[in-house]
Symmetry: C2
Subunit: 320 residues, 2 copies
């Protein structure tokens, strides 16, 4: 059954989940109207998921609703920001009430968990495309950026690496990944608490959406530095550890995308305090290497041998 755009808005987007006092007007006028907090800077990010490019046709809409918000909250986490408001631009081939209800269930559950309010959006007809924009706040001078890593800083990573990549690899081979791997791929949890804990201590941070080497590479390039990564120190789930042992191939934890963990750098004098803070947070973290003066990424095995690795992570446009 088709619904008009106005009916869609009434049924799915007007019913507020989380209601914030700073939202003066939410969905339903020309613009949302927001009371902005005094003495804070605003962080803004936008990410788009396109069917067949970022997810398979037939993906569970509830999980897709979760993930389309999670990838944006992950960017806020990487800035050390506290999320507040989101907009949703949804392009749909048909207006399918059951699909939309499930999508909004996943989206709203994650939004409510982090006190995030949906303040506006646009619903259009066309190939399935989901563009979410998230707004958060951070006190002036406290935001975590990519360009301030210095030689000697230690490199940390939250959670585990390569799980989403392994799930995709198993599915591509016709297999069915276990529950843990599927959750890591389909319902990643943005590391917002870890991002907050990094404030005042980390010199740089980024979220790992394109693969560790690609994203750590962004920090290095923007900071005019390089990195030494110790492969045995990479935090791996049992599943990925087994895969690496069997195949001898480190490319999953190094270059697979979609992990949404945080990679960050910390001056040596702050490392003990980082350990105190992050060890208490779900997912934990690991030190995996050190920032060096010389540009480029260098990976070392347990026996001290340097391993040749490709730095390229997931890219939407491959060079011709």
């Amino acid at each position: 059954m088709g619904l008009s755009e106005f009916e869609l808005i009434e049924q799915f987007f007007l019913r507020p989940g989380c209601v914030r006092e700073d939202v003066l007007l939410g969905v339903g006028d020309d613009c949302a109207l927001l009371r902005i907090p005094a003495g804070e800077d605003m962080a803004v990010t936008v990410d788009t998921l396109v069917e067949t490019v970022h997810f398979h046709p037939g993906t569970d809409p509830e999980k897709l609703g979760h993930k389309s918000l999670a990838v944006n909250l992950s960017d806020l986490a990487a800035m050390g920001a506290v999320p507040a408001w989101v907009t949703l631009a949804l392009t749909l081939p048909v207006s399918d009430s059951a699909w939309l209800a499930a999508f909004m269930r996943g989206f709203s559950a994650l939004a409510n968990r982090h006190r995030v309010q949906l303040i506006g959006g646009d619903t259009t007809r066309g190939p399935l495309t989901i563009s979410v924009q998230a707004h958060g706040f951070v006190p002036p001078g406290k935001a975590l950026t990519r360009h301030s890593a210095r030689a000697g800083d230690r490199i940390g990573v939250t959670g585990t690496l390569g799980d989403a990549g392994l799930a995709l690899l198993q599915m591509a081979g016709g297999g069915v990944p276990g529950r843990w791997l599927r959750e890591r791929l389909e319902t990643p949890m943005p590391r917002l608490a870890s991002g907050l804990a990094l404030r005042d201590l980390a010199s740089a941070a980024i979220d790992i959406s394109d693969g560790l080497l690609a994203d750590l590479g962004h920090i290095c390039r923007r900071s005019g530095a390089g990195a030494r990564v110790e492969l045995p120190k990479l935090p791996l789930s049992q599943e990925v550890e087994m895969h690496v042992k069997k195949s001898g191939d480190w490319s999953l934890p190094l270059t697979a995308g979609d992990d949404y963990e945080l990679c960050f750098t910390v001056p040596p004098e702050f490392c003990a305090r980082i350990e105190e803070r992050l060890d208490r947070i779900e997912g934990g973290f690991a030190w995996i290497g050190v920032i060096e003066k010389d540009e480029g990424m260098r990976c070392f095995a347990a026996d001290g041998r340097q391993i040749e690795t490709s730095q390229s992570g997931y890219q939407h446009f491959q060079s011709a």
Copy 2:
């Protein structure tokens, strides 16, 4: 020639046009970082244009760049807000440098004209879809909304109605619209100055993207009121006036979308001051009717006869 996502960002999105002091970090980190002004409320809007739904394949990319920003600035105008920042989520089938350069030329020219800075975005591969989100500011209590029109308020409209619709109609019939009509369709000018001039005087405002009756209908429904519209008072270009005379059909100025003029309501005691202000602004305006207690839209011809009209404007999802 294909470009990677990083090359795209470097070539097309990093070079700043307008540079605002309140942008601490623009394109290139996990988030943009913005210094938010004290004592202002923020207005946020997002609009998506999808190829074949909102524009024809082969549309001039420079004009598309202009229009994709203009439709969002038009929403800010309808709130009486001053624009500041925009993000751009661009889904492209291939990375075509010439297309992108032209698109950004059109986008940036309009952005610079209104001191708007591009602060972030996302570039993905997929069917051509353009989602722009705009942020603007308005002093607390000054925003123009849809829900405060009262019986007795006069109804005003900026510019002229039905031009974009006539251009589309001529193109659908294999004709080539004249330069004026094409400009109205392809490079609409957001009525930002008019929106500012309405502050403190208008009781409600909306931008006409879905057709006059549909959008005025939103004001009426949200305000719990109705409207009387005098057809002879509708502001028409020569081209649309001729079309209405020839065909005897008022549906173009009443229901065609894509005009991006402002429709607003004003208490009688403020009408003289509105005339003083708006008569000086490019495009001008006209009084077209009055808000009434009884719900519904009623249109009257020159001889006082009530004309039957369909209220439905452009809708992305038609009821099944």
